[in-house]
């Protein structure tokens, strides 16, 4: 049961252009969404997040868009740089655990998208 899906295994873009990575989810309990970047031999690094009360969050070259009705989020990187080449994971979390207790991100991850930015 894949609750978070990244349907594109890979994406290749030219340096300076826009990279758009997509993610779909099925669980209506998800309220908080995050993007992570992962280089080989390193753990995932947090990039940007968005809560369900917003539809857009921007941080420098990175913007995350959330469409709750479509259960879809996307990460835009503008302009793309060769150093952005990595695996990108989207992740989702309920704001609070279903039992009503505290929840600190039982994160559910997508399968990842390999982004390659060519010079």
């Amino acid at each position: 049961d894949q609750q978070v899906k990244q349907n594109s295994p890979s994406l290749s873009v030219q340096e300076g252009r826009i990279s758009i990575l997509n993610c779909d989810y099925t669980n209506s309990m998800f309220d908080y969404f995050l993007w992570y970047k992962k280089y080989p031999a390193e753990g995932p690094t947090f990039l940007i997040s968005i809560s369900s009360i917003k539809d857009k969050n921007e941080d420098g070259r990175f913007t995350v868009f959330l469409n709750k009705s479509a259960k879809h989020l996307s990460l835009h990187i503008v302009p793309s740089q060769p150093g952005d080449s990595a695996v990108y994971f989207c992740a989702a979390s309920p704001y609070r655990a279903p039992t009503g207790g505290t929840s600190y991100g039982k994160l559910t991850f997508g399968q990842g998208t390999i982004l390659t930015v060519h010079p």
Binding site: Q6, Y104, G105, K106
Partner: protein
């Protein structure tokens, strides 16, 4: 300020053996989560600890157990290893505030476990 650290970096075990992986959270963080990442997949949540208790658990068998110490560091134990347990095991830490707001998690570099 040290980030999340994990040990060992790599480990090779035989089927049926037991293994213990260790994690020290980022300074100021009191919540530790463990994830398993199989090749070509995203990380899968195993369980989460804070206040030295397991608070949430993913869809993993009882062979996977853990512990959190008073200094917030944590261990992941896996008994009766199977070939399918071969994966990268990631530890992540996060802080909490009094309003129980969810924070982004900070990951360590992982422990690569190979079961032969």
């Amino acid at each position: 300020d040290a980030g999340v650290t994990q040990s060992p970096t790599h480990l090779i075990k035989t089927r049926g053996q037991q293994v213990t992986l260790r994690c020290s959270p980022k300074s100021g963080h009191d919540t530790v989560s463990w994830y398993q990442q199989a090749l070509g997949q995203g990380p899968q949540f195993i369980f989460q600890y804070y206040e030295e208790e397991e608070r949430q658990r993913g869809n993993f068998p009882d062979r996977f157990s853990g512990h959190q110490f008073p200094n917030y560091s944590s261990e992941l134990n896996v008994n009766a290893l199977l070939l399918g347990d071969s994966a990268l095991y990631l530890c992540a830490s996060s802080p909490r505030d009094l309003h129980f707001i969810s924070y982004e998690q900070y990951f360590g570099p992982g422990t690569r476990l190979t079961v032969t």
